[in-house]
Subunit: 225 residues, 2 copies
């Protein structure tokens, strides 16, 4: 590996971690905005999304430049292609934070009433998954990456619980349909956020083991929603 | 370009179009299953999803092999990286067809009642977008790719209409909450399907114009849902 290529790889690594930190922060704020039903916090996320978009474009261009300039093979090639895909997932996690913020923008405007689903544990788990998947990437830690994949089922279970409770509330309070449907959608966005963290972890596993694990995960039996 | 590399590129092209046709077919069946509330059709999609997953893995491995073996630069490099990302989007469109099928699996079991949202126009538009984005890729037709991006707003508008009508139905028929929530989620899956087709079109534009258009699209004012 030439000195220039090593430097380029180090820079890509640093860039993707910067994006990771930015996205982690947005997710943190989104989870707080849900907890406090705080539309000002939610507005901050929406207003700053373009920063994440710009960073994603910058990273992809840097990856393409490195592929063209240094023509890496084997593990270095796989690393850069993994970064291109992880970059994409991070940007979409940012989009999910925006989606959550938009839902909070609606629920915060509705009259409060006594029903509330506490998304803090689900948000915390999704956040942990994101953090762990990025740590797994930095340290090329395959065990940590597998832990992320395993956590995905826990997030799915909370989503099912949220559905059951919110659907029951919808039956009882049909006049609160707008508030409740928006609350329900937050679980969907958190679930997708966790899915993207899982994608990142799966890329890390592929990077380390050279085997594609996505699609290979045993499916839990389908539950009605 | 060597003869071997040209052959490899042609093969990748053929493979991605095969996957595109497979996914198009699944989307077609999913839209029919929704229209007819047909759980048998829906079951076919779920049972055959592993074929799409396997094809995606095969294509990605072929792309990585070509990058390593032929070390392409400029437009050829960009083409292969675009295929890696489009491949990913196609697989996720397949996942959305499965999600729709799962929702039909639930709605088909519920007692029918007089409320129905006709998703045929939305499904048709999403299908058209997928077809057009793949045609744009084959023919490197940038105008067609831009048309796909423009159509995305129309799909979003139908989603908003579906939301309004289903939320009104939820208010009137709180006892039908399970049926109605599943009906509502179908619009979400169709919307995401259209988003992935838009991603594909944006990749095609990038491939042709060398400019990243994603994130650049003017945002419509946010609507409450």
């Amino acid at each position: 590996m030439t000195k220039h290529f090593r430097k380029a790889l180090e820079h890509i690594n640093k860039q993707i971690l910067t994006l990771g930190s930015m996205v982690e922060e947005r997710v943190q704020i989104a989870v707080e905005a849900v907890r406090d039903n705080d539309s000002d916090l939610a507005g901050q996320i929406i207003a700053a999304d373009h920063e994440i978009d710009a960073k994603e474009v910058e990273i992809e261009e840097e990856c393409l430049k490195s592929l063209a300039l240094y023509q890496p093979v084997a593990v270095d090639l796989r690393f850069i292609v993994a970064v291109i895909k992880i970059n994409n997932d991070l940007e979409r996690i940012g989009d999910q934070a925006v989606n959550i913020a938009e839902r909070v923008g609606v629920t915060a405007k509705r009259d409060p009433f006594d029903f509330f689903f506490d998304y803090s544990p689900m948000g915390k788990k999704a956040q942990d998954m994101l953090k762990m998947s990025l740590d797994a990437l930095i340290h090329l830690d395959v065990d940590l990456a597998y832990k992320v994949v395993a956590l995905d089922d826990e997030v799915d279970n909370i989503k099912v619980e949220a559905y059951d409770r919110i659907k029951a509330a919808l039956k009882e309070h049909p006049d609160k349909v707008s508030y409740l449907v928006n609350l329900l959608l937050i679980s969907r966005h958190l679930e997708r956020l966790a899915d993207h963290a899982t994608n990142i972890a799966e890329e890390v596993i592929y990077l380390i083991e050279g085997e594609i694990v996505r699609h290979g995960k045993a499916e839990l039996p389908q539950r009605e929603e």
